[in-house]
Amino acid sequence: MDNPERIKRPQPERTKPNRNVLGALGQSDAMLGSLDAAQSPIDGGHPLGPGFSDPVQKSATNGNAGSDPFGLIDEGVRAASDLVDAHIRQGEETAKSLGKSAAGISLAQTDVSGLLTGLVRAYSDVASVWVDIVGSLAHKIDGTGAAKADPTQTQGLTSTIGLSITSAGSVETGIEMFRPAIDVRPQPLVSTSMTPPAQINDVAFDAGQPGTAGKIRVTVPKGQTPGVYHGLLLSASDQTPVGVVTLRVLGQTPQEGPA
């Protein structure tokens, strides 16, 4: 006699191995994004669109079962995943061999200084103005609006240098570091676009306190001839160039009056 209260097992969630391609990489259909399900590309269909079915099921029913030359598609995708990871590693190794990032956007801070090019325009309508550009320059570099006031120092190497300009007129100035340096020796700023070449000699480097940014101080004399001036920054240790300061002395504006 049958027992009317038979024990029933719950319906299993699945009855065969889950070899869905999304599962191959630890993903699930739910990973189609955080978008609302109603906005799914296909309402109720396969996540990859109409006409799509589980590749494993399909290969088992299309008359070519087992003819897939690449093995299970999941395995193929896994191999492809390994391949692209190797490509990424190779790219990083190439970057190291070239001395800089191949993609150029994940550089160590010390390398980043080589990309540091700031161009800041300082206006003045008073007789003399002292412009501290460190904050502005950092803001420019960060590019997000959040100023990076803190200097970047790695193993004692200065990779961010500020500029302090004292000028009676309008100037544009920028600084580019080729590589970090512990201490720098600025050269006079020279403009060769005029005859005879003009010079700005009052250029000095203030190393600042440990943990703070070094600073190049430039004083532009009153009446300095307008033009573009360049001055190398040399490493104090081996006198090799580590950066360059560029300064453009602009023409007078009506508000400034005669220099």
Binding site: D43, G49, I88, I105
Partner: protein
């Protein structure tokens, strides 16, 4: 059953494509010498095209918060470079049709086409350079450096493929093919547009490997489907039907065939590979196509492409999960599935 994805993709491609065409027109000189330079330079860009690459760049930029105007110049640079590479590819592949018309070298001869391709590549730098003036120095240099990386990867990928054709004794494997596609196709088709868009949108640096996995899975799925369409396209496809078979271009399907040959078939296949495009016959092409159909190579390739698309969807979820829902975010996701619905 409705297909929101199809609509989103079509609408966005049309909208962003029109924006990019307007900007491209500004960078294509309308001056002498027109007949032998600037008219051929403007030819491929005026033929239309899917505009997938620039649209992907703009959509990524917007998904990350940028105004489209900010990305459209960069997107135009991508499309111009893409068109310049198409001119060179068509010469190297000895292709006869592009987007339903004769290829540029078929119309003007190789020297003029080559020169026009060079000019278009150079012109593509201009919109990026102008972007540099607007961007912060922190951003502008990485953008240019990424373009250099993309150009290098693309040339390396093209070299791999040209080498296989130059040396018919080579037998590339599936992994060889995928590496070639990663370099030749994925960097320009997906990785660079996404990376560029993300940098413009975030206005800051991104990690060194960002979008490489997504771009690879998506780009490879796209390319494999492209290869399939080349066989099935007929008149609806932009290139001549079965052009890849006429060129004996190594695709997953041809690799599949090469690995499935019987001893009796092998000599004819070897002879097919060694022939030049001009000496291959319709019988040769039909025979290889028949081999592909017989072993299910086309279906296998499509299945593999779908697997890659699944992986791309997973990467999409990871990369963009923190971003708010938007039409652009949907577009990027739906582009993956659109790859399999398009007929060209």
């Amino acid at each position: 059953m409705t297909y929101h994805g199809v609509d989103t993709v079509s609408v966005v491609l049309d909208e962003y494509g029109a924006m990019v065409r307007d900007v491209m027109a500004d960078y294509l000189p309308k001056q002498e010498p027109r007949k032998y330079l600037y008219d051929p330079v403007a030819d491929y860009p005026s033929r239309g095209g899917k505009m997938m690459r620039p649209s992907l760049c703009i959509a990524t930029a917007r998904a990350f918060g940028a105004e489209p105007e900010r990305a459209v110049r960069a997107a135009a640079a991508i499309e111009m470079l893409h068109n310049s590479l198409l001119i060179h590819d068509d010469i190297e592949d000895e292709s006869e049709e592009r987007r339903g018309k004769p290829t540029l070298h078929a119309m003007h001869g190789i020297p003029i086409a080559l020169n026009a391709g060079d000019m278009l590549a150079m012109l593509s730098i201009r919109p990026l350079l102008e972007n540099v003036y607007d961007a912060s120095p922190w951003l502008s240099i990485p953008i240019i450096q990424d373009m250099e990386r993309m150009a290098r990867e693309s040339a390396e990928g093209q070299a791999l493929e040209l080498g296989w054709r130059r040396d018919p004794d080579q037998r590339p494997t599936r992994d060889d093919y995928l590496i070639m596609v990663l370099k030749k196709t994925c960097w320009l088709a997906a990785i660079y547009p996404c990376r560029l868009g993300a940098m413009l949108g975030k206005r800051s640096k991104i990690t060194n490997d960002a979008f490489i996995r997504f771009g690879f899975f998506f780009g490879a799925a796209f390319q494999i489907q492209d290869d399939v369409l080349n066989l099935n396209g007929g008149l609806t496809y932009g290139k001549e039907s079965c052009g890849d078979l006429w060129e004996a271009k190594w695709t997953l399907m041809l690799i599949d065939v090469a690995q499935s040959l019987t001893e009796a078939e092998r000599p004819r296949f070897e002879a097919y590979l060694r022939k030049s495009r001009e000496t291959r016959t319709e019988e040769d092409v039909a025979w290889v196509l028949d081999l592909m159909n017989r072993i299910g190579a086309i279906e296998n390739a499509q299945m593999f492409a779908r697997g890659l698309a699944g992986a791309a969807l997973g990467e999409f979820s990871t990369l963009l999960s923190d971003l708010p829902d938007s039409r652009d975010k949907r577009f990027i996701r739906d582009l993956i599935t659109w790859t399999f619905r398009r007929d060209h």
